[in-house]
Structures are given as C-alpha cells and as structure tokens.
C-alpha cells in the first residue's frame, strides 16, 4: 500500500514518514496531482500558517486534486493544520478559502487561556471513532496549535477543551482528521496511525 503525504512546502514531513514507515507503510511525498490520484490514501500534515498552507496547495495545483479525492471517497487523514484546512475558512487568514470539505470556520483560541495550546491533553469521545479504537479513554495526545475547529462541527467524534470545546478528532466517510500530532504522541499516537492504516486495507 502506498500513502501520499502532501508536501506543500513547509511542515515537518520526516516525522510523519518515520511514524508511518514503522507501521510498514510505503510513503511518497506528493507535490503534484497525479501522485494523489495513484495513492491509495492521502495524509495531509501541516504546521505553520493557514495562508501559507492553502497557498502552497494552490501553487502545486493540489487544491482541486484533494477535492476530487474527497469526492471519490479516497481515505484521507489531516493532521493539525491539515485538519483545519479541511474546513471552509480560518480566523488565521480571513479571506483565504480552505478545502471546504466541511462548512465551519476554524477559530482562534480565546485570550483567557494560554495560546498556543501546547502540550499533552486528553479527549472526550462523543461518537464512535475508528481512529481511537483500542485507545484508553484517559490517554494523552500532543497538541501544538493556536486555532481550532469548534467541537460543534458535524464530523467531530472527539473533543478537547482549551478555551472552548474544539474538534480533536473528526471522521466522516473516508475523511479523518486529528488536531493533535499522532507522530509526536508516543505509543498512543502510533495506535491512531495504525488504526488509520488498517481502515484503508
């Protein structure tokens, strides 16, 4: 099986590649649409700025290819900013359109809590989740972000609280996303990736 990791020009790809590699998965850095078309699944990692991210996708003509993959039901996993980019827009870059798989707007964390939300936090699972299968309900995951989609967003299956309840895990159809970094979340994070890989097979 081959998983395409979208390379939009920034982001720490080696750690995602290494984490998937340990699960015996072959990965390829995708910089053009045909690579997304031939892959069996797509990982959309991301750190940095929402504007840089969507611009990076646009410059590589990947925006349309990702929408086509979404429409075709290709398995996809968004990580951190990769999850946020699946929504329509973000407070971080007003005026820049996201991939709009989901209509909600990504919000800035409020000023009454420390932002960025950095560190290990727990989840509150609200619906059945394929990504969280076999993971203890009090497990910790590593977060590092200043923006988040509200937990009221339709595809939310697990929430986390930091200033407001936000979507920590989303799942709908073949699309999944995590606001935390599974590749940085120890053995628990490796289990999330394993669950994603197993869901493709």
């Amino acid at each position: 099986m081959k998983i395409a990791i979208v390379d939009y020009g920034a982001g720490n790809l080696p750690s995602v590649e290494r984490a998937l590699g340990k699960l015996g998965v072959e990965t390829e850095r995708a910089i053009e649409p045909p690579q997304l078309e031939s892959a069996e699944a797509i990982v959309l990692p991301g750190v940095g700025h929402f504007a840089a991210f969507v611009a990076g996708l646009r410059e590589r003509n990947l925006t349309g290819a990702l929408r086509a993959a979404f429409d075709a039901g290709k398995p996809m996993l968004g990580i951190c900013l990769g999850l946020q980019a699946m929504f329509a827009a973000s407070d971080e870059a007003p005026g820049d359109a996201g991939l709009a798989f989901f209509p909600e707007q990504v919000r800035a964390l409020p000023t009454n809590v420390k932002s960025p939300h950095i560190g290990w936090n727990q989840l509150r699972q609200t619906r059945e989740s394929s990504l969280l299968r076999g993971i203890a309900s009090d497990a910790y995951f590593y977060f590092a972000h200043s923006f988040a989609a509200p937990a009221t967003a339709e595809p939310t299956v697990a929430a986390c609280d930091h200033g407001f309840p936000f979507a920590a895990v989303i799942e709908r159809g073949s699309v999944r996303g995590v606001q935390f970094h599974p590749e940085k979340s120890g053995e628990t994070g490796a289990q999330v990736l394993r669950n994603f890989v197993e869901s493709i097979q």
């Binding site: 750690s15 750190v47 560190g119 290990w120 497990a139 910790y140 628990t188």
Partner: protein
C-alpha cells in the same frame, strides 16, 4: 480533561556528545545524544530539548547531524537551539527534524528574527530562550550563555517576544543554574503571569520536590532539567509517579 504539566530533559551538546559543565573542571562527557534521547523517550519524557553549546566552529558543524540522529529515536516533540542567528539557521534545525527552535542572543540583537520565524513556521515552533539574573526587585535578560547583560527587563522582553510571535518561553534562572537549590518559583510565576504563552522553567532542579514546587507555586507549564536525569539515579518514570500522587496533572500512560 486537563493539560498535563510537562517534564522535559535537556541535552547540552558539544561536538556531537552530551556534556555537563562541572565547576572548576570544565565539561564532562555524559554520553551519546541519540542513546540518551531514546532512553528518555522510553521513560516517558514529554518532550526533549537539545541545545548546542559548542564553542568551536567544528562543534557547530555536527549539530544538525545530532538533531537528525536524536529525532530518529523519538515519538515525542523535539526542540533544538543554541547559536540560531538567522532565519536559515532556524529552517535548517526544523528541517533536520526539530519541531521547535529556540532563539536568544540573535533575537535580542534583532527582534524581527522572532517575527520572521513565527510567520514562516508558526508561533508553536518558536521558543524564546530567556536567561535571566535577579536585579533588585526584577530580573534582567542575558545573552551569550549568560555572559552578557542586555539591560532589558526580563518580563518586558518576554512580553515583546510574545507580541512578535514567540509561542513559548524557556525561562532559565542563571542565579539558580547548576546550584541544585531548586527552581526560582517567584521568577517563574512572575513571567508565567505576564505572558499569555506557556512557560518552561529551568535552572536549579535537583529533587522531585523542586518540580512539584515549580508546577504549583511557580505556575510553570513545563519544567526542564539537564544533568539530573543523565545519571540513572532519578528516573522520569519515578518522578511522574511522585507528581501524580500529589495531584499534579501528569501524563502517565504512554
């Protein structure tokens, strides 16, 4: 659901080896960074910091390789820094596998460096390393590994750095560093209440009680220690158990 307090071992690296500064003796070799990193990852460290303390050009040349070797061993976040002068240095460190980069001296000279790194990589990837000494009722920021006074008030500089896009403060008390007399909780609480970003306390840690104090009185979001974990006398696992039993939110499951 609670954000856990983090325990962060720090590797001071010179020419590819972890070293410890010993008074009147200079540097003592503490081992291989990749091996120590792997051990801390296994023992439940929440994050790892690698700092380049090389004085020589040759020492610096090996630092990116050290980051690569350490990053390969980890499935937790890695922060790296020491001698980051410009945007390209930061990029190289992140490309080598670090998730965050620390800046100090160069940022004092040219604060725009923080803004540039933050705009490119996000605030969560930029850590201001703030080394301070007490001066009357406040604290003064120092650069060049604690050698040069800047005249900057630590709290004001921290606030400016955050304004410019630093996402975390790594706060080291030079007065306490190497003394084993505990973290400076007053300093840590002062800065933690001044800035809206997480603060990592550093300098002076020796016992489990020191960590307990800095998370409670000191209001630290995370605490860092270098040499106390290197010799296997104090394990991270045992410290986490100690803290959890005393009500500190700690990540125990791996």
């Amino acid at each position: 659901m609670t954000l856990a307090r983090r325990i962060i071992p720090c590797l001071d690296v010179d020419a590819g080896r972890v070293v410890k500064g010993i008074e009147f003796e200079g540097l003592r070799d503490m081992g291989d960074p990749a091996e120590l990193g792997a051990r801390y990852n296994r023992e439940g460290a929440d994050e790892l910091v690698v700092l380049d303390i090389s004085a020589s050009v040759e020492g610096r040349a090996t630092f990116l390789d050290t980051i690569r070797r350490v990053a390969e061993q980890l499935n937790i976040p890695l922060t790296a820094g020491g001698g980051i002068r410009k945007m390209e240095d930061g990029r190289a460190v992140l490309r080598a596998g670090a998730d965050k980069v620390t800046v100090n001296t160069a940022a004092v000279k040219r604060p725009e460096l923080i803004s540039e790194l933050s705009q490119q990589f996000g605030a969560q990837a930029v850590v201001l390393s703030l080394d301070v000494k007490r001066k009357g009722d406040s604290w003064e920021a120092y650069t060049r590994g604690g050698r040069d006074a800047t005249g900057l008030d630590a709290a004001k500089w921290a606030a400016e750095a955050v304004e410019r896009g630093a996402g975390e403060i790594l706060l080291t008390s030079i007065d306490r560093d190497g003394t084993c007399s505990g973290f400076d909780c007053e300093l840590t609480a002062t800065i933690a209440q001044t800035v809206p970003v997480p603060v990592i306390a550093s300098g002076g840690a020796s016992t489990f009680e020191d960590f307990l104090a800095v998370y409670t009185e000191g209001r630290a979001d995370a605490a860092l220690a270098a040499s106390i974990f290197h010799q296997e006398t104090r394990s991270i696992t045992a410290m986490k158990k100690f803290l959890a039993e005393r009500g500190v939110p700690i990540r125990l499951s791996r």
